[in-house]
């Protein structure tokens, strides 16, 4: 088990470095950072001055090496745009994103898993149809649209919630629903399919035959087996939510890490983008790792793998 973990960790570091190198090269190819930094009002001379000041005239590999060396010592440099340390900038914005991601995935799991189970118990029933409708709608509806509809109804017409911002828990209700709803359909369909599959298997028949209660059969025997792929999926969704809540953060003016990444790319803010990509790729790696551990706990057969 220890070798397994160490191997996985070593691989994770390599993946993170590869990702950071690719993103660094892409940013470099996408445009002159000096021109982007100088802004729209700058003259050619301003841009030259900036190029010299930041050392953009040096070879890319030298600049990447310099970044990597500092990053390994925990120094992510200063944001070109905000003139603030990247580490504190990201730490600040990540709080919002992580809170939102956590609430979103919880919302998705708490709605999707019960609905998926209910749909599987009575296939083609009203509940199943309703669940299908919800999941199709969730996949089809763009999140910016859903977000604005919620704002129109809950914030403007009913006046229950504030339209945007992040100062109280009430500000997080609508973003959580939008983000969670987007992740919900996949989880629900997978739960339903998994449950249907498991409920037809021999050991469920055996469990019923030996007189186990229906609740015990469903939750102890069936769900435990059906949930395994759902755990992996939820982990990936969680990674996606942390990096990909750009639209939701933009609509609800949340100023999280996703939005920061999006804006920083447009601003060619290299140090911020690099650090964010590193953080996001680490999240993916950690969540898939945790999902493996969790699956191993749920399914003893996986421990030997």
């Amino acid at each position: 088990m220890l070798t397994f973990i160490l191997k996985r960790l070593g691989l994770a570091v390599l993946v993170a470095i590869t990702v950071s190198f690719i993103s660094f090269s892409l940013l470099f190819l996408s445009g002159d950072p000096a021109a982007a930094l100088a802004g729209e009002t700058a003259s050619g001379e301003d841009i030259e001055a900036i190029r010299r000041l930041y050392g953009f005239d040096r070879p890319m590999l030298v600049q990447y090496g310099e970044w990597l060396f500092s990053a390994l010592r925990g120094d992510f440099g200063e944001s070109y745009y905000f003139k603030l340390p990247v580490a504190s900038l990201i730490a600040d914005r990540l709080q919002v994103t992580m809170l939102l991601g956590l609430c979103g995935i919880l919302f998705a799991l708490l709605t999707a898993v019960p609905l998926g189970v209910a749909a599987a118990i009575r296939p083609n029933s009203i509940i199943d149809r309703l669940a299908l409708f919800l999941s199709v709608a969730g996949q089809a509806m763009p999140s910016f649209w859903f977000g604005l509809i919620l704002i129109v109804v809950l914030a403007i017409q009913l006046g229950w919630l504030p339209p945007s911002g992040a100062s109280t828990w009430r500000h997080f209700v609508m973003p959580t629903i939008v983000l969670g709803y987007y992740a919900m359909p996949a989880i629900m369909r997978l739960t339903r399919a998994g449950m249907l599959d498991v409920l037809e298997s021999d050991f469920i028949r055996t469990a019923r035959a030996k007189g186990a209660g229906e609740t015990r059969v469903l939750f102890k025997h069936a769900l435990r087996n059906a949930i395994i792929p759902v755990v992996s999926l939820a982990a990936v969704q969680m990674g996606f939510m942390l990096g990909g809540s750009i639209v939701v953060e933009s609509v609800f003016a949340l100023h999280g890490a996703g939005f920061l990444a999006w804006e920083s790319i447009a601003r060619n803010d290299l140090p911020t983008v690099q650090a964010l990509i590193l953080v996001f790729s680490m999240f993916y790696i950690i969540f898939t790792f945790l999902a493996d551990v969790l699956n191993a706990w749920l399914d003893p057969r996986m421990r030997s793998a």
Binding site: S30, G31, D32, A35, A36, A38, G39, E40, T41, A42, S43, G44, E45, D46, I47, A49, L53, Y81, F82, K83, L84, L89, F144, W145, L148, I149, I151, V152, V153, A155, I156, Q157, G159, P162, P163, S164, G165, S250, V251, F252, A253, H255, F259, E263, A266, N268
Partner: protein
């Protein structure tokens, strides 16, 4: 800079408008005006940002030595009480006494000397060098008299000193630097900053000890500024009463908000000019635009009035000069090209392109304007291979001389002097696609003469040649919409600067 306008936005705006049930309730009782910015402001320190939001904050928090009345364009003293040219490159100022910074530090000659000497040094990295690099240094004569030395003759100095050059407290700035100033700004201006969440949230409070400034005294006690990137969300906040004022509102949304009766929609022009830049110098290789007849044909092909009426709307105007009409030196007596597609075709035929030609056409903003321009050009036989790029990418191509034709805009940094636009593009700089020696020499005289008549004379010569030769196709000026609740009274100015000090409650 790029605002999100799309069919999507229009659709949502319609939904939002149809849904309004609640009247807007302003936060007047507590004396707080809630405002939204669209863009994340990088740093409040005005020397270290280059955005419109930064100019807004600069005018609220700091003061310059001189003030230009935005309506009359007249210069009056602000932190200085008087000034005179000692020689062609030396300005002497008498400073106002009894002014204090927000932190209690008294304002005097040391602050001016420190600020000028700091910003004029290139290695200190002031973001927009053009705003400050004409200054050499400053020296103190006595506590309330100071001299600013210029690198060379620069008649627009007064305009710059009334605009982007504001005075910083020497002791405080030396201690905290640009990043400290960005987090806890200290100035002499009508508003003091009480809270900063970088890029997201700014709180201002009226400076009760504000000096007797030509800006006037602040009336609204508190200003609360939040960055809300989505225009639709801004509108929702306005409807729910948690915002009092939004600006830079797209024309279609503004028109609908105006019809609702509970908001004031004010439209004002901005200094931004939209134009077509053509590679007359042939930097991108041999291309049709090196031929004057082709450039004239392009000028005749575009229906400027239709663009203004149908797309830009508001206070936008047709322009024929490569500068904004109110700018000093931007004489309007130049060659104008009326909309005449037949003539354009004839000119193209005469130039040896009876069947037109194909060219790459670039733009970085306002896709719908660029597409309209494209169709005017197609109409006379100029087939365009249209490419929409990010600003920085287009700029890079442009600097490398790889752009035959592009739709560009320039806002002159709100500097009311023709040098801020014409001289940026026609003096053989990296963005000059014309490279005409005569024009450059005239502009050199116009930019550095201290005799206003001579300046006008030489700008006239340059502008006449530029328009005669049809180096560019200048097209229109931009405008912007300000929308605020009926509780707010405000008259916007044509320089696109939001002035909190001029706002009052109704």
């Amino acid at each position: 800079m790029l605002r999100k306008t799309s069919p999507r936005a229009a659709l949502i705006a319609a939904t939002l408008l149809a849904s309004v049930a609640m009247p807007a309730v302003a936060d007047e009782a507590s004396g707080t005006l809630n405002v939204a910015f669209t863009k994340e402001l990088e740093n409040i320190d005005s020397y270290f940002n280059s955005s419109r939001e930064g100019v807004v904050m600069q005018r609220a928090v700091w003061d310059g030595l001189i003030y230009r009345n935005p309506e009359t364009n007249e210069y009056v003293g602000n932190l200085a009480t008087s000034w005179e040219w000692i020689d062609d490159t030396t300005l002497e100022f008498k400073l106002r006494e009894g002014v204090t910074f927000h932190n209690g530090e008294p304002f005097n000659a040391d602050d001016v000397v420190f600020t000028v000497n700091f910003v004029a040094k290139e290695e200190n990295g002031v973001k927009t060098q053009r705003n400050v690099n004409w200054m050499e240094s400053a020296e103190k004569v006595d506590d309330y008299t100071v001299r600013i030395k210029l690198k060379k003759k620069f008649p627009a100095a007064i305009e710059f000193l009334s605009g982007p050059v504001s005075m910083y407290p020497n002791e405080y700035y030396a201690e905290v630097g640009a990043s400290g100033m960005g987090l806890k700004p200290v100035g002499t201006g009508p508003y003091r900053v009480t809270e900063v969440v970088p890029g997201q949230h700014f709180k201002l409070e009226a400076n009760s000890a504000y000096h007797d400034s030509p800006k006037g005294q602040p009336e609204i006690a508190n200003i609360d500024i939040r960055t809300i990137p989505d225009v639709n969300t801004q509108m929702a906040e306005l409807f729910s009463g948690s915002l009092d004022l939004i600006w830079q509102v797209p024309a279609d949304q503004a028109a609908k908000l105006g019809q609702m009766g509970q908001f004031t929609v004010a439209n004002e022009s901005t200094m931004r000019v939209g134009y077509l830049q053509m590679d007359s110098a042939g930097r991108s290789g041999d291309n049709p635009f090196t031929n004057k007849l082709v450039r004239q044909a392009v000028n005749h092909a575009i229906n400027r009035q239709e663009l203004v009426d149908a797309l830009l709307q508001g206070s936008s105007k047709v322009v024929y000069t490569p500068c904004f009409p109110s700018q000093f030196g931007c004489v309007q007596d130049v060659t104008e090209y009326e909309f005449n597609p037949e003539k354009a075709k004839e000119l193209l035929a005469e130039a040896g392109y009876p069947d037109g030609f194909e060219t790459a056409f670039y733009a970085y903003r306002d896709r719908q304007y660029a597409e309209a321009i494209s169709s005017y050009l197609n109409n006379v036989g100029i087939k365009t291979d249209f490419k929409m790029l990010q600003y920085s990418a287009l700029r890079e191509l442009n600097m490398d001389g790889k752009v035959p034709l592009s739709f560009q805009t320039w806002g002159s940094y709100s500097i009311n002097d023709a040098s801020a636009m014409v001289s940026q593009f026609f003096k053989h700089g990296s963005l000059d696609s014309t490279r005409d020696d005569e024009v450059r020499d005239w502009l050199d005289v116009a930019d550095s003469s201290t005799n206003p008549d001579e300046r006008i004379e030489y700008y006239s010569k340059a502008l006449e040649k530029i328009t005669d030769e049809a180096f560019w196709a200048p097209m229109f000026t931009y405008n912007t919409n300000y929308v605020f609740t009926d509780q707010v009274a405000y008259t916007p100015t044509p320089d696109e600067v939001l002035r909190f000090v001029d706002m009052t409650w109704n």
